[in-house]
């Protein structure tokens, strides 16, 4: 079944120059392996097409049940140079939570998602 990340995770995002970071945090510990398996670097790059103009890097923080993504060249030059409403990438967090991932029906049922 398709599940939107907002059902599985919460998130916070911020900026470093023209790079946005999104920390994606599992709402429950047992959701973390699903995030780690499904929310890959390439899927995040694809999700943010037209918004992220550079590479996407992904880091794992199993200790926090979290993944950290760096979205390079995403903030219109960054800092004071940017003309964007969200020059600091503060809403990239919820933009990532819009993503849908596929979870096998059995697994989803086991986690009480269906």
């Amino acid at each position: 079944m398709k599940v939107q990340l907002v059902k599985l995770a919460h998130a916070r995002s911020g900026d470093k120059g023209d790079t946005a970071n999104v920390g994606l945090i599992a709402l429950r510990d047992e959701f973390y392996p699903i995030l780690a398996r499904e929310v890959t670097q390439s899927r995040v790059k694809q999700h943010f097409r037209g918004i992220c103009h550079g590479d996407v890097e992904r880091f794992e923080l199993p200790n926090l049940g979290a993944l950290n993504f760096l979205l390079h060249h995403s903030l219109g030059g960054g800092g004071t140079l940017s003309l964007m409403t969200d020059a600091q990438g503060k809403t990239f967090s919820t933009a990532l939570l819009r993503m849908y991932i596929d979870i096998p029906d059995d697994e989803a049922r086991g986690l009480g998602l269906s």
């Binding site: 998130a11 916070r12 023209d18 920390g23 999700h47 199993p62 926090l64 800092g79 004071t80 003309l83």
Partner: protein
């Protein structure tokens, strides 16, 4: 040696809730008040203020704040670490001491100041010696913006703040010190941590990272269960309650609003994170993949397990330079067809800018209510009640940016109908002061610590 040190964050940025630091002092027990005032381009604003007035160039709000809390600081021996000094640390300290004397504390208050971070006057000498100060993000040499530089400061770490605290001062004021160093230094001072005990330095650094954005660790901007976070009108700012072994608890004063729990701390831990294995500061390299969190009761989260590694041989330098001008104009279009009207207005505006021959480095149109935050991810808008057209331009030619600002209001009488939202007059032309991050070998920077007395 104290067995527990309570460090309270009073400001998440310059301009945060004015009463927050006072409440941290008055509404419960604390040992230190930590105040972070400096965002990346704040130093350039302060350089400009100092150029106009040699007594200015620091966070002015800090002075009346200290006047308000000095009696309590002395009475309860609460100490302050603050990077409020900007580019005029001595001026800031002098103003605080003046307040202390007026309050009758002559001879009873001393202030430590930390300088040596300001390298603006040394730039040519450094460049001559092939210290290139290349942009960490783009790799460009500093020479490309040399004639437009407005400020240049190395980020100092905890060590000079510790040196000041060791001299028994009540308040330490720094220039460009790291926000994490303002929290780490009191812990090194109180617990006698060695400057190469990397795990403990990393622990103090991560404690600093958690509280440096103020209430963003205690319920503010928190997505997890945000509707049920209690009494945000009365939000309590975070406090790190640290132990000599490097473990600590994040909490807040009793009877304040907001919430400190494991999810709120997780959200703040990942804020502005790069590679979590190496969070680099002047003091150490902290590893965020080692942080362990545990619920320790209502509004208490225990943090432990933190590992660190030796500091690098470099300090980060923040340089600001003038990078042209920008302006942003907005208008609001209402139902029906609000989005279509806003799009039509954008086309008309761009046509006029073309006819005028105006050239910009960048022109950006956003439709607030449709796609300003999530772009194409937002999907097709249904029929919104209103859409704000928001057009920004940026470029080196101030006259062209100014001309742009005169093209917004006329759209009300010369464009699509049902338009409003132009109460503020013409958009303001802003000078852009951009940020240039670089690295400098540590041996080039010598922090200076002085003590001044009231």
């Amino acid at each position: 040696m104290k067995q527990k040190v309570r460090i309270a964050a009073g400001q998440g940025f310059w301009g945060d809730l004015p009463d927050a630091p006072v409440r941290q002092v008055e509404e419960g027990p604390i040992d230190y008040l930590m105040l972070d005032y400096l965002a990346e381009v704040t130093m350039s604003i302060m350089q400009k203020q100092k150029a106009r007035d040699p007594n200015a160039g620091y966070a002015r709000d800090f002075v009346p704040l200290m006047r308000q809390v000095i009696p309590a600081l002395i009475d309860r021996n609460i100490r302050v670490t603050a990077n409020a000094g900007g580019v005029n640390v001595k001026g800031c300290a002098t103003a605080v001491l003046e307040q202390a004397r007026e309050l009758g504390f002559a001879g009873k208050l001393s202030v430590g100041i930390v300088t040596g971070d300001d390298i603006l006057a040394r730039l040519d000498e450094l460049l001559d010696r092939n210290i290139e100060l290349r942009n960490m993000d783009t790799g460009e040499p500093l020479a490309t913006v040399r004639d437009r530089i407005q400020s240049a400061n190395a980020y100092l770490g905890a060590a000079p703040i510790v040196e000041a605290l060791n001299q028994n001062v009540q308040i330490v004021i720094t220039g460009r010190a790291t926000d994490t160093g303002l929290t780490l230094a009191p812990l090194i001072h109180e617990f006698g941590w060695s400057l190469n005990d990397w795990d403990k330095l990393a622990a103090g650094t991560i404690a600093g990272h958690i509280i440096e954005c103020g209430a963003q660790a205690s319920g503010g901007n928190c997505q997890y269960d945000w509707q049920n976070i209690p009494d945000m009108a009365n939000v309590g700012f975070p406090i790190a309650e640290a132990n000599p072994d490097g473990t600590f608890v994040i909490t807040k004063h009793e009877n304040t609003g907001g919430r400190v729990n494991v999810p709120s701390i997780k959200e703040q831990l990942v804020y502005e994170m790069g590679d979590p294995h190496e969070y680099i500061t002047p003091d150490c390299v902290a590893d965020f993949t080692t942080v362990r969190l545990e619920d320790a009761g209502k509004d208490r989260v225990r943090v432990f397990g933190i590992k660190g590694r030796p500091a690098t041989e470099f300090l980060k330098v923040s340089i600001s330079y003038s990078a042209g001008y920008k302006a942003v104009g907005t208008l609001v279009y209402s139902w029906p067809d609000a989005y279509l009207k806003a799009q039509a207005a954008d086309r008309i505006l761009r046509g006029r800018l073309d006819r005028l021959g105006l050239k910009f480095d960048q022109i950006l149109t956003e439709f607030v209510g449709v796609n300003a935050t999530h772009g194409s991810l937002a999907g097709d808008p249904t029929e919104p009640a209103e859409v704000q057209l928001r057009v920004g331009v940026r470029g080196p030619n101030k006259a062209m940016i100014e001309r742009f600002t005169k093209e917004i209001a006329p759209l009300i009488l010369t464009g699509p109908p049902a338009v409003t939202g132009f109460a503020g007059g013409r958009p303001k032309v802003e000078e852009i002061v951009a940020y240039w991050p670089a690295l400098i070998p540590k041996q080039e920077i010598t922090p200076i610590v002085e003590v001044l007395k009231a």
